[in-house]
Symmetry: C2
Subunit: 196 residues, 2 copies
């Protein structure tokens, strides 16, 4: 048997994920079965299960992918001196996220709306969503600590609450982008006017 | 035949809506059928259809109900002189919305997450959601015009973009409230630190 390369494994994993995104985008999350993912990916049950034992694992991988994209910008901004202020940090995050996800055949951030809906009712999915949200809120919180140090927030402001609000502002963008075609420019223009 | 009073009609309408909210909360929006609503309400198909010919009509009534609750606060704030600034306006809106919806057996704003998910794929539902969003964005836009006049926003700020962002901030709250139990106080504290 030929040795299976790392690149080959990663490509098959990606092939399954993209098949799942097409299913979720077409049918929603709840109505998609693992059987649908086998058919859409053109791979056997055994081959798919090897990478993703359940729908929850597909969600986890998708959500971690999105968080990973955001992390690239967060780490860059956290290393910046001076720290980019809130409106500039939001611009860099949303622009990078939009650019990377729009390059795919199916926009992963659109799947987020289906996953949030499922997470309201399904505790396993909610656990995954909570983990990813905590990670993103945590990044905003780190930035908020820098904003505090730089005098960009009022003294005594709670970095964690600021992180929650910034994450909420991201959710409000992703939702309106997929429901109404809202552009990053319009949203950022509004946020820029409101923020310090 | 006895004359059916207005109050009786309104009570039956509410009874059907509440049955639908229980179904949506339990099964999600997509998986709920009109048959489920008949069974849950304990009413006949004919009786339900008289009030709501389709699931879309249940969504429209639910969404209009939420917009109506928000409108009560918006009209009050638009009549206020001086106009409440952004953080105070958000506080009054979220607190009123949370108070009214939490008093019901099923929190209607939780249904919003299921409806947004459905709206990504279903054009009829998206049309309803767009109509309600435009109404709420329009209210924030009216407030933003007042904020501009009062010097609470930078000169040249676009009230419509500000309205979109404020609506996004509301979406981010509703989502995090139902997924993570986020409190109005924590979210408002974060927004207050970020906003002018």
């Amino acid at each position: 048997m030929p040795r299976v390369s790392e690149a080959h494994l990663a490509a098959r994993r990606q092939q399954i994920l993209e098949a799942a995104w097409r299913c979720f985008a077409r049918q929603g999350f709840h109505a998609t079965s693992m059987q649908d993912v086998f058919a859409e990916s053109g791979m056997s049950a055994g081959a798919v299960y090897r990478y993703f034992p359940s729908k929850a694992d597909l969600v986890r991988a998708t959500a971690e992918g999105i968080a990973g994209i955001a992390d690239d910008v967060f780490l860059e901004m956290l290393a910046d001196d001076p720290v980019p202020p809130p409106a500039e940090a939001l611009r860099r995050t949303l622009e990078h996220l939009t650019e990377v996800t729009a390059a795919d055949e199916i926009d992963r951030t659109r799947i987020a709306l289906h996953v949030w809906s499922e997470a309201v009712r399904d505790t396993e999915i909610r656990g995954i969503v909570t983990g990813i949200a905590d990670r993103l809120v945590g990044r905003w919180e780190q930035l908020a600590e820098r904003w505090l140090d730089a005098g960009l927030l009022p003294a005594g402001a709670d970095p964690h609450h600021v992180g929650r609000t910034m994450y909420g502002v991201m959710i409000g963008f992703v939702t309106q982008r997929h429901l109404f075609g809202l552009t990053t420019d319009d949203y950022l223009d509004g946020f820029g006017a409101l923020s310090r």
